[in-house]
Every structure is written in C-alpha cells, then in structure tokens.
Symmetry: C2
C-alpha cells in the first residue's frame, strides 16, 4: 500500500489532493464545499439539501435539462452528500471524461442559474423528503439521536426541519451560496486514473484565472453550544411494528492520539458477527436481527453510535443488554478479541484501497479533519500498534459516562 499523495494549493487557497491508483480505468472526485448543515445560519436548517439540488438545475449556459444531459452524457455516477461540515458534490466516471466533468462542476459551483421556479421545486422535494422519514424510522431515529447528542449546531439534520424549509426563500438561499461557497476553504479530492498536472492547470484556470474576485462574506461558524441541557432520552411514539433504538456516547475525536484505540474498542463491540453486541443481543438472546455500533466522528466532537431495531416486548431488554456491553468493555478484553478487531479494520482498509470513490472521500476527509492526509500504511501501522493494554488504558481514561438515547415506536424504554 505504498500509495502516493499529490497535493497542490491554488492561488485562491483551494486545496487540490490526488491519490493515483494503478490499474484502474475509473476516477472519482469530490468538491468539499464548506456549507454543511452546521455551517448554515440559524433558521435555515435544510438549506444544504435544497442547495445540493438547486445548483444542478442549470448552470453556465445550460438549462436544467441540458446540464443533466451533459452530465449523463459523460457516463458519470453522481454522488452528492450534505454533512455537518460540507456539501460534497462529486462523481465517479471513466477517466477519459474527467476534464469535461470538472468543467461542468466549475459551472455548477460558480455559475449555477438559481432560477426561482427551480428553487420552489427543490424546496418542495426537500420538504417531502423530511416527511418521508416517518416511513423510515430507522434513519429517522439516528438523525434525532445525533441532534440530541451533539452540541448545537453540530447535530443538525442535513435534511432539515419542515418548519424551517417552509420559510426558506430563494433570495436568502442564494445569499447562503454566495457566502458559503468559499473557494479558499474548499477541498478538491481525486483518486484513480488521472494526470495531476493537467488537473491543476485546469483548476487554476477555472477557479482562479477565469473568475473575477469573488467576495465571500462568511462570518465563520464554530461549535457554539446553545447551553440548553439536552435531555438524555427522547421518545417519538408511533404505531409501527418495531421499537427503533438509537444510543450514543461521547468518545475521542479523529485527531486524538487515542483515535485508533477507540476504533479497536468499537470493533470489539461491533466489528463483526463474533463481536460482543451481535453475540449477546442477537445470537444468544435473539432480541433483534439488526444491531450494530459505529464510530461517528466530526472535527469538533465524536461519539459511538449504536442502532437496534426490535419488537416492543424486547425493547427494554435490548437496551439494557447494549448498555451493559458498553459498560462491561472496560472490565477486560481478550487478546483474541483485539486481534480479530485489528484484522477486521485492516481488511476493511484493503477493500477501501481498491475503490476510487472510497479513496477520494478518504483523502478529502483526512485533510479537513487532520490538516493532512494519512497514508494507508500509516493507518495500518497505527492499528497494528494497538494492544489489549492500550485499548483498556484508553477505556479507563475515557469511561462511557452518559448515554443519549432516542427511540421511535409504540413503546418507551427506561433509561437509567
């Protein structure tokens, strides 16, 4: 895994990162625009989703249909996402069409048409999408959980809230794009088959030389806890078949030196079918078929998030067993458990190394979170270096204190 990192900073401050991959014919790219849900002005929650739709409805000299035709004509598979920190717009496609794709994306970022009638359609679809969450309680409970867990505005749902989407106006949203599409804070990441020099020349041309000075008035935005005491338990009642349980507890951030110990700890809990949660909740007790925990890291805060979906009569026991497993973790871990966790994490790394999309997202995310890109070898070595002692030491110094719990279903649970 001796991959190379290409890096260049444009004159406007925009960072261009690349990881070449041998023997692939595809290339994946993403523009990370600093306009994620937590970056938006208060009262505009959900604007990110509307923006990620609206900017594709015509750009440069192309109307909505012409732009879609041009993108599909390159055979590109779009991937847009709205996270806490960024709106990421990107795609994976055949390497030969990369330059044309970047040109279209420059139009989308710099010269989106932003027509009023298209805004209304994008806004209405965003509202429908939030409403549709009622039919997807699994996704909904995790969105509610993150909102409950993180200090505001970090936990905001990227999909937004209906009340705020209803009052969102085109003019207002246009201003957000102007303020937040800050090129000096934008990261461009590419992985797969490409020519870095020609990408850099093209990017400099499209994003520096050919545009006038773009004044962005971003007031910046950090975590600013609103001070309200967040309740540890949120329940949303419905007439559904299952109780959907989300549980989250604080842990170290991606830049922390204990990050890898945290990842191994989570894997011991939930890294595979031999891991503790699956074994205790599903295999031994048959409490539910879906249970799992994952590390969830933002730059400013991080947690371990767990989901389980179960029948109303088993919900309390399911939650109790899960909390028990979290608490029991610090009491002792077997050598083989840590070994399996490490093998699992390293094997996931090998699979990621073979996917251009995974690598583009990986190097972009690293640069934002850590200010630098880790090589896969570095990650592998850091995983290797963990041990039963290091993981237990980490757990001693970072006890799971509070659990934030959210449930959706016909029955509440008791959170101790």
């Amino acid at each position: 895994m001796a991959e190379r990192l290409d890096k260049h900073i444009l004159k406007n401050g925009m960072v261009v990162l690349g990881e070449p991959m041998e023997a692939v014919k595809s290339v994946a790219f993403g523009f990370m625009l600093p306009a994620g849900a937590a970056q938006l002005p208060d009262g505009c929650c959900g604007a990110g989703t509307v923006i990620a739709d609206w900017i594709f409805r015509g750009a440069g000299n192309k109307n909505n249909k012409e732009l879609s035709d041009a993108l599909d004509g390159l055979g590109l598979h779009r991937a847009s996402s709205v996270g806490s920190s960024h709106i990421t717009i990107g795609a994976v496609l055949e390497a030969g069409n990369l330059a044309e794709a970047i040109e279209l994306y420059a139009d989308i970022i710099l010269r989106a048409s932003l027509k009023e009638d298209q805004f209304e359609l994008a806004r209405q679809l965003a509202i429908d999408r939030v409403r549709a969450l009622d039919d997807d309680p699994r996704q909904k409970v995790m969105l509610k959980l993150r909102k409950q867990f993180y200090p505001s505005p970090l936990g905001r749902s990227a999909l937004g809230e209906i009340a705020e989407l209803k009052t969102l106006a085109a003019e207002n949203t246009k201003q957000i794009i102007k303020n937040k599409f800050n090129l000096s804070q934008t990261i461009f990441a590419v992985a797969g088959k490409y020519d870095f020099d020609s990408i850099c020349r093209q990017m400099e041309d499209l994003f520096v030389i050919s545009i006038k000075h773009r004044e962005t008035k971003d007031e910046g935005r950090g975590m600013r806890d609103d001070g309200r005491t967040r309740s540890k338990y949120l329940h949303i009642g419905n007439e559904g078949a299952q109780v959907h349980i989300g549980l989250m507890t604080e842990t170290v951030k991606p830049a922390d030196e204990d990050y890898y110990n945290a990842r191994v700890a989570v894997s011991v809990l939930s890294g595979g079918m031999s891991a503790r949660l699956f074994t205790e909740v599903r295999e031994k007790r048959g409490l539910c078929y879906a249970v799992g925990a994952q590390y969830h890291g933002l730059k400013e805060a991080a947690g371990i998030a767990c989901y389980a979906g179960t029948t109303p009569d088993k919900a309390q026991e399911t939650l109790d067993v899960i909390v028990g497993e979290f608490n029991r973790l610090g009491d002792g871990i077997g050598e083989e458990e840590v070994e399996r966790a490490k093998v699992g994490l390293k094997s996931a790394l090998v699979l990621q190394s073979e996917s251009s999309s995974s690598r583009a997202a990986g190097i972009g995310g690293d640069y934002y979170m850590l200010g630098r890109v880790r090589s896969l070898d570095e990650i592998k070595n850091k995983i290797e270096a963990t041990s039963v002692e290091s993981v237990l030491g980490f757990l001693r110094n970072n006890r799971f204190k509070d659990f934030t719990v959210a449930t959706i279903g016909p029955k509440e649970v008791k959170v101790k």
Copy 2:
C-alpha cells in the same frame, strides 16, 4: 477489459469459475447453492432465510461462537443473500486468507451443526424480520409487487411469510438442506487475486474426495404457474406519510437476443438524472424525490420494475405520469437519448470491472442464467451495437401490455 475466465468442473459436477484481477489484493467468492425461495417446497416460504442464518451457527468441530470467531479472524466481510433461485453465501477478504475461508465454508455447507436451539433463534429472527417490513414500506411494496407479478413460485419473497415461518420445524428444514444443497448444481465463483490451480485442488479435496457420496433427493422444481389470475392491482393500507408505488411490466429474459435493447430502453426511461422518468416525474412536476425503474431478470421470466414514493395527494398523478412514460417510449426515442443510455451502461461496466465482489457475482450469475460467462468486452460490444432503430424495433415487438401495480399507504390509486 481483456479479462480471462478460469473454469473447472469438479468430479461431482460442481462448477468452479474464476476471473483474475490485476493489481488487487482482495478476493471475493460466492457459493451459489440451488436452494432459493422458488426452489423450496410449498409451505416453506422463508426457509431460505432461516437456513442462511442457521448453517452459520456452528459447523464442523466449531460451535456458533468458535465459527464466528474463525470467520472474523480472517477479516472476511460476509455477504449472504437469498434469491429466487439460489442461496448465495460468500465473502470478500484479503487474498492471503482465501484457502482458510474456503475450508470454513466447506464445513458450513457440508457439516453445519444444525442444532435445534439455534434453529429456534434463527426462525424467531426471521419472523421478526418479516414483521419489521411494516416499518420499511419501500422494501415491502417491491416484495409484494414481485409476488404479484411473477408466476408462482418465482415471485416468492425470500424473507418468507409469517404464517409459514411459524409452522417451520427444524427437522423439516434439515431435510430441505439435505435435498437442496445439491453440489452437482452448485456454482462457485471467485474474482480478484487467487491461484486457480490451488483453488481447484482444494475444492476437489473438500467437496469430492473427503466426503462420502451425498445422496440428494431433489425433485427439481421449475416454474409452475398456479393458474390463479393474478390481480393487476394490490393495495395495502397504512397510516404512513407516503404512498409507495411499485409497478412492473413483462420484458425479455436475460438470455434473449433482445436483452441489450431492453436494457437500453430501461436506461432511456431511468438510467440517470437526464432520463425520462426523473425528468418528467421529479424535475418538471416535483411529484416525488425518489423514482426509478430497473430491469429485473430471473432465468424463467423478467420484468421492468419501477418504484416511486410520493405524498397521498400526488400519488395518482405520479402513477399516471409513469405509465404514460412507459407507453410513450415506443413512439420515438432521440439519438442522444440512446447515446447517453449506452454511455451510462458502459461506464457502469467499467466500475463493475474494478470490484472483485461485482465480478464474482457477475460470472456466477452469467453461468446460471446463460450457461456461459460473458466477457466484459462482449457486453460492451453488445451495448455498442444497439441503436435507436434496434431499441424501437424491440419495443414494437414487445409492447408494454399489462402493468402490475402494488401500493402501500393511506390512499389507493386507480389503475387503468
């Protein structure tokens, strides 16, 4: 894309297929066992899901926990699925651990412990999973649609029906495994980094030499339409936020010479964001954010399946527009539409060629459906060879006659 195909038939008739991939460190494999939902005895619907769980709960000299530990210890990412024709059990992992993984899977296939108490847990989880569909109307409507659309037993839900799962007994299920895990009808497919000679020696050893003659009494099973007239419309009422619409219409099977024309036609309808369904339903009319159609092929029958999720007040218009677009397709297609469809299909092919999991599934599926494996070049050339004329010719000879429709939600629609 000048890939090589490795092929060997074991003495017991089991087919071993391989596609080596340069420059990857992973390998993906799958055993396709002829015990899919449509292959099971009547009244045992759902047994496949129970079996795919049960056989992993201990095998050879390992109990449930020891087997899970061993699998996770190899860092393998399991992938099991139950389809209409097969139960496929497989994984993707680092290439160096392949031989050990195959040895464990041989135990799972040939020497699963099949303990009664573990059966009960697997059966109960399968029942819970069917119940959980009520909280996932999007998946549920497509399962109901396929059941409604295909002649019995092809459309059976692999998840099963609660009434049948409730009466399923361990002894009975054990007999199904004995009858249906027919090695002479089993296909093993591998893609990525591997040594084909050593795989073949190992497979011969594990599945032929080291086992006694396994007598399977499979009565065989084909499509046998039960003769009942399937209603064209099925509605399941609920109090949900959306109406989930599934629509399906007959088309040519994967082995048909018009298969590629059908695929291009579906892409013109729904191959990207410039395609007709997305443009007409979502972009122009804002009727719903999720709409799409896909080719769905079994060996014995095939259809084009469409999903849309929308609000109750827009459900009728959504269905009408979708049916309108299907019917309008034969009236004329633009040169550029076919061109974009072809580019999209070819680009998807490039991405598949870079994933060991996709390729293992691809070559196994081809062999079952067609009796041979298509090279990616062949597929590419066949896509290239389509044209406006060939697609319109296909549509003239294969008019969309009947639409089977299923809906879940608070409001019914009218099907003309």
